[in-house]
Symmetry: C2
């Protein structure tokens, strides 16, 4: 059996997340496994680096799967893209050692959250950025995100739904940048809790809108209490950017 690693990009708009759902709801995994089955002539089950939520996008999702399918790796990308719908694409594929596991082997994952910060909503940015109509205080959000960097228990930034043994994660990078009307949040960590990025962004936006002091984010982190953090920011601003192995 060969172990194949594939890098994927997708527009999450019309999917109920990456992970296969009961009841035939459209999922990225479902569509991908269906295309792989057609190519390989038998069922293939993929493992993904990150189980992105409904509406979340990806530029660098990584999956792996085991197969005795004999197509050369350099043909996998073209073969897959010939079958996948236009909102999902394979960007690269390679054969990897048997021990490679898309999620467990990942050293860091990088997510980017994009906000379109302008008084009036923009039709050409509505699918991939959250619209915030009041001016955001980027310096304040930068001061706030500094409290989150490092190794911490991130229980305050986790929604219920996917229980984990430990809520300790190492956030290697938390950045906030303005680029014209866009404000981009970049987070790189050894792992993320359920909806952690969206809750961090929702909390930072409270700071950006002046409803919360930057230092309060440090207190929220220490409290280990989801109720103290801000709302969960909408999914469509979020993108799984890169997975490092």
């Amino acid at each position: 059996m060969r172990n194949i690693k594939v890098v994927l990009a997708y527009d999450g708009t019309r999917y109920c997340g990456f992970q296969k759902q009961p009841g035939g709801l459209p999922t990225v995994q479902g569509v991908l496994e269906e295309s792989l089955a057609r190519l390989a002539g038998r069922e293939i089950r993929v493992t993904a680096a990150g189980r992105t939520d409904a509406g979340v996008h990806a530029r660098g999702q990584v999956v792996n799967f085991f197969t005795d399918w004999t197509v050369p790796t350099d043909r996998v990308v073209a073969a897959l893209n010939g079958l996948l719908p236009d909102d999902i694409a394979a960007l690269a594929a390679e054969e990897v050692p048997a021990a490679f596991h898309a999620r467990k082997s990942a050293r860091t994952k990088t997510y980017v959250y994009t906000v379109y910060n302008a008084p009036v909503r923009h039709p050409l940015h509505r699918l991939y950025a959250l619209h915030v109509d009041r001016p955001l205080d980027v310096d304040g959000m930068r001061a706030a995100v500094a409290h989150l960097a490092g190794r911490h228990d991130f229980s305050s930034f986790q929604n219920t739904g996917r229980p984990v043994a430990s809520a300790v994660r190492h956030l290697y990078e938390g950045r906030v940048e303005r680029d014209g009307p866009f404000v981009r949040f970049t987070f790189r960590a050894d792992g993320f809790l359920y909806q952690m990025v969206r809750i961090m962004v929702g909390t930072l936006l409270e700071v950006g809108l002046g409803r919360l002091q930057p230092d309060a984010v440090g207190a929220i982190l220490v409290a280990r209490d989801r109720a103290q953090a801000g709302p969960t920011a909408a999914p469509h601003g979020l993108c799984l950017e890169h997975v490092e192995y």
Copy 2:
């Protein structure tokens, strides 16, 4: 009667162009006039700077309309955006002199055509950029577009369907730029013939792909023969960027 000018942005993906069509096909004009009628309590007919084709987008379309509607101009944007679907938005509105005509008063219009130039298609760029999988020769396309700048008879770059008295237009600016995987074509002129930008881009892409010499574009211009130019590039890469008055 007041004359109101409104700047619009829209995602043209699901519209059969700007201009109202018989048979109830979805058009930007149809949706806009419906919202205006609901706000003003009577029928309003708008005039647009550019009648964008089916699938073409806008960041800076301009319309004007006459009305005795008494809502203050600074409320028109919010009122309209409350009714318009999320793929159309009013960005600005102002009262203008009675002589202002969105199309006839325009001094120049600027269109931008975006190509995503990478070996593999990308789901997150599919709606607003044409995918070209082979590397484009940007220098060659720059040399070619230089033949088009200036005042010329652009008959070679006009499709049938909208007869005009004269095919002479002044192209003030024709630029080709690479920005990472994107190649952007910018055209500013006193007016454009039917599908002129898309035919110019289709012809320049022939140069970019090495199928046509840059100097051939000068000969095509002089020939005043549509058959000699390249294909009409797909609409979804095109955006009406700005109208200058």
